[in-house]
């Protein structure tokens, strides 16, 4: 409030004066609201109205002056009173109101402001009052300067200015009228508005009492008088004050802002270029370190008591499985330079993990994990065909030790956190109690995991198959990019497919997988259909069917299989997403929200009673999406294989099968 008022006093552009005075008045209103008393709130509301009326009029006056005199520079104006009497009258009323001269409306709100400031007690009882008076004083000074330097005195330059037509002066004149009327009878004009706004602001019923005269004892009167006198003195001493102002250096907001932003940007550049210099391992290291630090901080800043939940008894068979899993994981760690071996060991870990899921009452997870494991390992095996078979040993001992320590620390943290979690009862009742209770009556399926996926949290699953579809499309786009790059094609052509086996296509494997194909497809359909009631469902079924196809690629070669596979993978993914979408939209026609499912039982002779659910159709979309995504990645590798040397046309080179 004070600062903007001071700046307004030393601006030369009429509009700049008014703009800074607006900033000052906004400061005043905020100050009043900040006082927090009902009286201050109603003063603030009154000032909003008063300020709107006189400031709008003044801006229009500035516009008129600019229009007539062709300049808004107050140093070139002056003495316009004679040439523009009407505009002068309007400016006189409005700027005296801004200065807080009675009986205009600016006086009312300024009085209330000073009254409230006089009652405020901050640090000392009189500090706020002095500051408020100083603000009022500056306000008087710039108001009078606006008026006097524009309209009074002698003309500093020759302008053939004259009053404009009523189109230009009517609006400010109306506002000037309002300034006078609302100043004379405030309760009848602004009273209801102020009451309503102040009541809404404070949340209590307020009836403001606005009056011109509060008596001689009111401190506001004397503060007002001091402000008026001081303001007039400022105007009189203006050239001298101006010289002091121009001579003193002052902070420029823009410079401060630029410096602050520059410092911030510089710091972030340094941080980014240190942590994120393109080195993946450095980025991962920093991320892990931060996660570890945050976890440690969270642990150390709270109390800790050991958990009390009863634990499962240790059993022999699971323990043996655990030992194998742990050895395989450790072996991967130490033998990862041999990539094929590491991949096989990873597969062992994944398979034992799925056995663990089965043991811990998660048959759906076990099915999914085992089929994903097969697909992932096969895909990576196929990809390994194109990559070096060994990783060179190139890390320094320091690096090994550093990475090892971080790995052990994160592993310990994650393990202890999991242990702490498992040895405690949940803090809140489980959401899934609802899912369990509603699985059969609400979603029509007995497999609670599947009903959660396709029904209760169907929207989530819908998003996930879209993500999967996008991942597959990224692979598709990547394939186009690689196959159009000359370098990549050259390098592909120089790759010789590893020929470790004597016969790349053993007859038993080729024939066996072909017989297995229809069987595997049937298993896929079976798993899909039972999914709603027993472990299974669209995700697993999609993976099982993909494995059936993958086997053909493994046994008979990329090219042979590719020629016989006549469907478009992108189309499959698109179909999946659309099927899921339309299942969701169909619910709208029943007047239900998106993805609400329904179900019914039908009898088709000679089959048993069959349950039909819309959730199954949704699951079909999931199935298509998963199948399409897996097949697309596979097809990508097979496209690449077609560009290598030793193109492998399939079993015995015959194309007749």
């Amino acid at each position: 409030m004070l600062m903007a008022a001071k700046i307004a006093l030393f601006k030369d552009d009429l509009k700049a004066i008014l703009a800074f005075s607006t900033v000052s008045h906004l400061g005043l209103i905020t100050f009043l609201l900040g006082l927090g008393t009902p009286a201050a709130a109603s003063a603030a509301m009154l000032h909003i109205l008063a300020h709107a009326s006189f400031k709008a009029a003044l801006f229009m006056v500035a516009g008129i002056v600019d229009h007539e005199a062709h300049t808004r520079d107050i140093r070139r104006l002056g003495g316009l009173r004679a040439a523009m009497p009407l505009t002068f009258t309007i400016a006189l009323i409005a700027s005296l109101s801004m200065a807080g001269v009675p009986p205009l409306n600016g006086f009312l709100s300024k009085e209330l402001m000073l009254e409230n400031a006089a009652q405020a007690d901050w640090l000392t009882p009189w500090l706020v009052a002095i500051l408020a008076t100083a603000g009022a004083l500056l306000s008087v000074a710039y108001s009078l300067r606006f008026l006097a330097h524009t309209f009074l005195g002698t003309p500093r330059e020759q302008h053939d200015a004259h009053d404009p037509g009523p189109g230009l002066w009517a609006a400010p004149a109306l506002l000037a009228g309002l300034v006078i009327v609302s100043g004379l009878v405030p309760m009848a004009t602004f009273g209801p508005f102020v009451d309503a706004a102040a009541s809404a602001t404070t949340g209590t019923e307020i009836h403001a009492h606005i009056a011109l005269w509060h008596g001689l004892k009111a401190p506001a009167l004397w503060m007002s008088l001091a402000a008026l006198g001081g303001g007039l003195a400022c105007l009189g001493l203006y050239p001298r004050l101006r010289a002091i102002w121009d001579a003193t250096p002052r902070p420029e907001a823009k410079t401060i802002f630029d410096a602050a932003i520059g410092a911030l940007a510089g710091t972030s550049r340094v941080v980014t270029s240190t942590l994120h210099n393109g080195s993946l391992s450095r980025g991962i290291f920093a991320t892990m370190l931060v996660i570890l630090g945050l976890g440690l901080w969270a642990f150390l800043s709270g109390p800790y008591q050991p958990g009390t939940r009863a634990m499962l008894p240790v059993e022999g068979a699971p323990l043996a499985g655990w030992a194998v899993l742990a050895s395989a994981a450790l072996a991967t760690l130490f033998r990862h330079h041999d990539r094929l071996l590491a991949l096989v060991l990873t597969g062992i870990v994944g398979l034992l993990l799925s056995a663990g899921f089965a043991w811990l009452s998660a048959p759906d997870l076990a099915l999914t994990q085992i089929s994903v494991e097969v697909v992932t390992i096969l895909l990576m095996l196929l990809a390994l065909n194109f990559l070096p078979q060994h990783s060179p040993r190139e890390s320094s001992p320091f690096r090994h030790a550093r990475d090892g320590m971080l790995a052990v620390a994160t592993g310990l943290g994650a393990g202890l956190l999991a242990f702490a979690l498992m040895t405690r009862e949940p803090a809140f009742s489980r959401v899934s109690e609802f899912h369990w209770a509603q699985s059969k009556p609400g979603a029509g399926g007995t497999n609670a995991v599947n009903t959660i996926i396709v029904d209760f949290r169907g929207y989530d699953t819908y998003g996930e198959i879209i993500v999967l579809g996008i991942a597959a499309l990224i692979i598709f786009a990547w394939r186009s990019a690689v196959l159009s790059s000359k370098t990549a094609l050259h390098r592909l052509a120089s790759i010789r497919m590893a020929k470790n086996a004597g016969d790349p296509h053993p007859l038993m494997l080729v024939m066996g997988t072909r017989f297995l194909m229809p069987l595997a497809l049937m298993v896929g359909v079976f798993i899909f259909l039972r999914g709603h009631n027993l472990p299974g469902g669209g995700f697993v079924a999609g993976l099982v069917v993909s494995i059936a196809f993958l086997l053909q690629y493994m046994a008979s070669g990329y090219i042979w299989s590719e020629r016989r596979l006549r469907f478009d993978h992108q189309l499959l993914i698109g179909t999946g997403v659309l099927v899921a979408t339309f299942t969701g939209i169909a619910a709208w026609f029943m007047g239900w929200p998106f993805l609400t499912s329904g179900y019914d039982y039908v009898h088709i002779w000679p089959l048993d009673e069959i349950e039909l659910t819309t959730a199954s159709v949704f699951d079909l979309g999931v199935f298509f999406c998963v199948l399409g995504a897996v097949m697309l990645s596979l097809a990508t590798l097979s496209r690449l294989a077609q560009h290598t040397t030793d193109r492998d046309a399939g079993p015995s080179g015959k194309e007749s099968l």
Binding site: A326, T332, L365
Partner: protein
């Protein structure tokens, strides 16, 4: 058995983090696979572990928590999708650059670049 499940989470995390900090793309991918095993097992274990209590209506009255299972199931499939993407990206960068280092700071081609001028572009 809780202690062994927790130890598995810890071990898989440690192996995953260590492999992710290696300098070649293939171990990094394996590391990511291990880390997703660990995360999936962790989320699953957050539902508390029970044996012989598969959440299938009619087979038990006190089932294990089905919600983490549903979350992990989709997570497994999504992590497959992501693994497939990074496998392809690793393959692409190898074919394009002639090496499979994940850090840009050092290194020439491992394999002699075939005729062609865009090498390393």
């Amino acid at each position: 058995m809780e202690i062994f499940v927790a130890a598995t989470v810890g071990l898989l995390t440690a192996v995953g983090v260590y492999l992710m900090l290696r300098l070649r793309s293939f171990p990094v991918i394996l590391g990511l696979t291990f880390l997703s095993y660990a995360v999936n097992l962790f989320i699953f274990a957050a539902g508390r572990i029970r044996t012989a209590a598969a959440p299938i209506v009619g087979t038990t009255d006190t089932p294990t928590d089905p919600l983490p299972q549903a979350l992990v199931l989709t997570a497994i499939v999504i992590s497959f999708g992501m693994t497939a993407v990074i496998v392809m990206m690793a393959l692409g960068s190898y074919l394009e650059l002639g090496h499979d280092r994940v850090d840009p700071d050092q290194g020439e081609d491992d394999t002699p670049a075939p005729a062609g001028k865009e090498t390393g572009a």
